[in-house]
């Protein structure tokens, strides 16, 4: 008796140990995922934050006939290769706009060359010892500073890292998202309304429903193949254009919008529909006057989430050619454009070290934008959601 009590308590002990083990395993799994999230953001922020500040040098610019033809001659020998070539290129234009500058010398804070930027931020760089000495002297004289990197937000892409910015990519993203919305929102909502309120229960309707679920699971890169083969090669939409990207992403966002809109429409109780029909409204009047307005917050939330997804999407856009080098803002929907994720991709494959922190900074901008969109979606849902 005593013996068997002993074994059973030992078995119980074992079972409790197994229980504890399993529970800690579960906690470990969750912690692992969260730990990744923390390291992930810590890495990106530590790599990216320095790009929001840009080294500048206080330099005398002499505006002469010579410097108009050869911008490099506008600065002294000592600092000639320490300041950005990209900035000096503007000298002739400055002279053209302000002719009174001719034959004067002015002091400016000028964007420093990428290696100088790395040096002043205490990172590995390729500066020669002599150049480092010059920089040390300039530092002592207070002629160097790290200022907020406005160029990053106000310039387009460039091969010169210190003046490369995300403006053209941001504008491209706005174009593409606008077209995506323009296409997928009406079609998506109309499809959802049809399936929820009008469709007869027959084979064709079932086929559409199965099909929409399938579309949501098709890898995004295949939408790129569709865009390339149909929109670009058959319909003649210009390659790399915002239009090609917007249409492709529109098709990709369509299932998301349809599925969320259907859920929102289904959440409207039948009593509303019956009441509307009861006072003599037609089915369409019932939908447009009652069901759609009531489900609108849900539709909006789903649309914003779909757009956020589209905004981070890269693969199909690479296929339709939206990774071109775009220094200027595209003037229309049919001109070559690029988007923020594609810009991140092109920068990340650059071999220049200075682009690494810019890539991380662009990623931070993208993540902040996505976060804002998602917050907006959550906020709208909380604010307007009704419990029936």
């Amino acid at each position: 008796m005593n013996n068997s009590g002993n074994t059973s308590s030992r078995r119980l002990y074992k079972r409790y140990r197994a229980e504890k083990r399993f529970k800690s395993l579960c906690i470990l799994a969750l912690c692992l995922a969260v730990a990744f999230l923390v390291t992930f953001f810590a890495t990106l922020i530590s790599k990216g934050y320095s790009a929001f500040r840009q080294a500048e040098l206080r330099v005398e610019i002499s505006f002469t006939e010579q410097s108009r033809q050869m911008p490099l001659a506008a600065v002294g020998d000592e600092v000639r290769y320490l300041v950005s070539r990209g900035w000096l290129r503007k000298v002739p234009r400055m002279l053209k706009e302000n002719p009174e500058l001719m034959d004067t010398t002015q002091k400016y804070w000028i964007v420093a060359e990428a290696e100088v930027d790395q040096y002043l931020k205490g990172k590995a760089n390729k500066l020669r010892p002599k150049q480092q000495e010059v920089l040390k002297r300039l530092e002592a004289e207070g002629r160097t500073r790290l200022a907020f990197n406005t160029y990053f937000f106000l310039n387009g892409d460039s091969k010169i890292p210190e003046i490369a910015g995300i403006k053209s990519a941001l504008i491209g993203s706005v174009y593409v998202l606008f077209l995506t919305l323009l296409f997928s929102f009406p079609v998506g909502v109309m499809t959802a309304v049809y399936l929820e309120e009008f469709a007869p229960d027959n084979r064709f309707t079932q086929a559409i429903e199965v099909n929409i679920n399938n579309l949501a699971a098709i890898p995004s890169i295949l939408y790129g193949l569709l865009g390339l083969a149909i929109f670009i090669n058959t319909f003649g939409v210009p390659r790399s254009s915002a239009l090609a990207g917007g249409l492709t992403l529109g098709l990709m966002t369509l299932p998301v919008i349809i599925i969320t809109t259907r859920a929102a429409i289904r959440a409207v109780p039948d009593s509303i529909r019956e009441a509307a029909l009861g006072v003599g409204a037609s089915r369409w009047q019932m939908v447009i006057h009652h069901v759609l307005p009531l489900s609108f917050p849900g539709i909006l939330t789903g649309t914003i989430i779909g757009l956020a997804q589209a905004m981070g999407e890269t693969a199909p856009l690479l296929i339709v050619g939206m990774m071109a080098f775009i220094p200027d803002i595209p003037g229309s929907f049919t001109q070559a454009a690029t988007v923020l994720p594609a810009q991140i991709y092109t920068w990340s494959s650059s071999s220049l070290r200075a682009f690494e922190s810019r890539t991380a900074a662009a990623i931070l901008v993208l993540l902040v934008l996505l976060l804002l969109m998602n917050f907006l979606a959550v906020y709208l849902r909380q604010k307007f959601q009704r419990k029936w």
Binding site: A29, F198, I208, P255, L318, P341, N374
Partner: protein, 415 residues
């Protein structure tokens, strides 16, 4: 005149006409009302909308028809003629509509028929999208398979398309190697990376789902669930950057410290990061399935004296298995089609190996590589991208189908 301007002029012409049509229709309705002849069948506004619809539809029809003819290459109608033709048809439609407006006209019913038609058309677009994807991939793939046999494609172990463009340029001599399109190494790489991803995602995703649904209190759940969902919201290009810049060098250093050699384009780094990307996918689907199991099963198990972990392992997991299997299949199909992470962190060179520390390539990498270069659209390498795309599409669809069947067949019905 470019298409852009044509479309612009078309709509600029149509908008004032549409406004005019609306007010003309309404005016007729108002006259009926003043005369007291308006029946209950239609309201004044509906006459306006009726006139507007009957004007715009024929014009749009003409426009779409001309566009289709142009695309199919049958005939290209000159832009000016098209513009005036469409606007004339619009005016004719308007005249006909105004003529047919009478007090007894059932304008609302007719309008709603048009609306139903457009709703239906929208629903058809989703079918057309699938059709578009399937056809665009199949057509190009057929061109590819006319040159390269299907058997060679699915069983060959050599993928060296580099000489394909030389042949296109007619520079290939006898000595130049024939391009080879054996896709086995590419699929091997794809499955290897997917396998690594699953080794990360399944245990972590499933165990976190179990913790959140069975152990965690409401507070922990309210924090942990959105945190995991952040993982799903991060764009894949960001994961790719992370894999290439941080994880790959880490893997190489770790491998060196234990005396192994690893490439910077090793399969392990993209695999691990992809696994993390898929965690929320598995965890949220499994969480839903586990929470859908009725409480009575848990209570019955506890009443028999089982501990929580025994309940999970012996009661809940078997009950949730179909749902978990289908989540697993969907996750696999997502991993197979994932592009940016592997494009940025995995290799370009097809490599048939079992060693995850070596560089290998995937289907999606080859597609992107073939289509973002400067190759002509009908070069063999470009076409090979569509053949790879077709295989990817087939695998994805089959996985989806199996997952649907698993759910439907084995789903427990609880009363």
């Amino acid at each position: 005149m470019s298409t852009q301007y044509l479309i612009l002029f078309f709509f600029c012409g149509l908008v004032p006409l549409a406004v005019m049509a609306y007010f003309l229709g309404r005016r007729k309705g108002r006259i009926f009302k003043e005369e007291g002849r308006l029946s209950f069948l239609s309201q004044i506004d509906q006459f306006g909308w009726y006139a507007l619809t009957w004007m715009i539809l024929p014009a749009l029809g003409v426009f779409v028809l001309a566009f289709l003819l142009h695309i199919l290459g049958i005939i290209s109608v000159p832009a000016v003629i098209l513009l005036f033709g469409a606007l004339t048809v619009a005016l004719a439609g308007l005249a006909q509509a105004l003529h047919s407006i009478s007090p007894g006209l059932r304008a609302r019913q007719k309008l709603e028929k048009v609306i139903y038609f457009f709703l239906f058309l929208a629903a058809v677009i989703s079918i057309l999208t699938t059709l578009g994807i399937v056809l665009s991939v199949i057509f190009e793939a057929i061109k590819f398979f006319q040159v390269v046999s299907v058997w060679e494609f699915i069983s060959g172990t050599q993928w060296s398309p580099d000489t394909a463009f030389l042949q296109g340029a007619e520079r290939a001599g006898e000595e130049a190697a024939k391009p080879q399109f054996g896709a086995v190494p590419i699929f091997a790489g794809t499955f290897m990376i997917t396998f690594i991803a699953m080794c990360v995602a399944i245990p972590v995703g499933l165990l976190s789902a179990i913790y959140m649904s069975e152990y965690a209190g409401d507070k922990v759940r309210a924090v942990a669930k959105p945190l995991l969902e952040i993982l799903a919201g991060i764009p894949t290009v960001v994961y790719g950057f992370f894999a290439a810049i941080t994880v790959s060098p880490l893997v190489v250093r770790l491998a060196e410290s234990v005396g192994l050699e690893a490439d910077y384009t090793n399969a392990l780094a993209p695999g691990l990061v992809m696994g993390i990307m898929i965690i929320p996918f598995i965890s949220s689907l499994s969480d839903d399935v586990i929470r859908a199991i009725p409480q009575s099963l848990r209570e019955g198990s506890y009443a028999l004296g089982l501990t929580t972990s025994e309940t999970i392992k012996q009661v809940l997991l078997p009950a949730a298995l179909p749902g978990i299997v289908s989540a697993f299949l969907l996750a696999v199909s997502r991993a197979l089609g994932e592009t940016m992470i592997v494009v940025m962190a995995a290799g370009l060179r097809p490599n048939l190996t079992m060693n995850p520390l070596e560089g290998m390539t995937t289907v999606t990498v080859r597609i992107v590589d073939a289509l973002t270069g400067d190759l002509a659209f009908d070069s063999l390498e470009t076409l090979s991208a569509f053949a790879l795309g077709l295989t990817l599409l087939l695998i994805t669809l089959i996985l989806n189908l199996i997952s649907t069947i698993v759910i439907r067949k084995f789903k427990q019905k609880y009363e």
